[in-house]
Structure formats: structure tokens, C-alpha cells
Amino acid sequence: MMTDFLLASSGFVLAMVAVGLIRVLGGPANADRMMAAQLFGTGGIALLLLMAAATNITALVDVALVLALLAAFTSVAFVISGSRSDMLEPGAAEQS
């Protein structure tokens, strides 16, 4: 019963992430899109932790840890490259 509850909770979090995606992917400003990594990071980690408890696969907590780090990294990459040019170091975007 606990297993079903936890699995259903992870399904709910997935639904929330999916609905959030509508805004994040469709949102007009670039600032909206930058939130994608954040949304997936937090939601994905919640999902993985719930699944880890539901299916008793403790390795999923490791996946959640890796996701936390890489989502932070990806968010930083999004913010730097999605910003207007005064956030980029001059010369960094022009290569030849």
C-alpha cells in the first residue's frame, strides 16, 4: 500500500512537471525557458526519490544526486547562454 502511494505520488510529480513544461517551453521570454532545468531538477529529484522508496532500488538516490549536480550545471549554462550579451564575457561568443 505504501508502495502504491509512493508510486502514485511520483506519477503526480511527473504530471506537475509536464504541466510546468507547457509554460516553460512555450513561455515567450527566454527567462521562462531558463527555468526548464530548475523545473526538471527539482521535479526529477522528487520523482526519483519517491521511486527509490517505492521500488526499493536505493541506486535511484544516487541518480537523484547526480541529477541535482548536473541540473545546477545545466541551469548555469542556460542562464549564461540565454542572457543578452552583457552577461557574456566579450569575445566569448565570437570564434573563427
Binding site: V19, I45, L49, L65, A68
Partner: protein, 97 residues
């Protein structure tokens, strides 16, 4: 004892799910990027925190609980900083206020 722990888990996880719902509703319905950012980061972080709290009784080893807390800590740290950076970008696109 196990019944008490299980009830605690169910309550905390449900609270976490509620905050996820609130965050998503805010993300969809708030008028501009700054407010949506607030909904996403604050509500989702609190939701994750409650879920982690609820899952703590379900792990057996102290290592398992430690990993859960480290994951939550990482999300808090990176979430707060990234929100600052995204907000800076969002403000640039708005008329001066």
C-alpha cells in the same frame, strides 16, 4: 511504531505534493517571468523538502538518510543562486520598475 512512521510519511509526502501543485499552478497562471520564477523555486523547493522529510523514515541506513539530505541541500543551494541569476535576466527584459 511502523504505523506512526508510515502515517508521517504519507502526511509529509502529501504536503510536498500540495506544494508542487501550488508551484505549478503559479508557474502557469502568474503574469510575468519574475513571479513565475518565485512560484517555481519557492514552492518546488518546499515541496521537495517535505517529500525528503517524509521519505526519511522509509530509509534504513544512516547513509540513505544522509544522501537524501545532501540531495535536498544541493537543490536548495543551486536553486537559490540560479533564481537570482534568472531574475536578473528577467528584469532586464522588463520596463524599469
Amino acid at each position: 511504531m511502523s504505523i506512526v512512521l508510515d502515517t508521517f510519511t504519507v502526511l509529509a509526502v502529501t504536503g510536498g505534493l500540495f506544494f508542487f501543485l501550488a508551484g505549478t499552478v503559479g508557474l502557469l497562471r502568474f503574469p510575468d517571468p519574475l513571479t513565475r520564477l518565485h512560484a517555481l523555486t519557492k514552492a518546488d523547493n518546499l515541496g521537495l523538502g517535505l517529500i525528503v522529510l517524509g521519505l526519511l523514515p522509509q530509509t534504513n541506513a544512516p547513509v540513505g538518510a544522509l544522501k537524501l539530505l545532501v540531495a535536498w541541500l544541493l537543490v536548495q543551494l543551486s536553486g537559490a543562486t540560479i533564481a537570482q541569476l534568472i531574475a536578473r535576466e528577467a528584469r532586464r527584459g522588463m520596463p524599469q520598475a
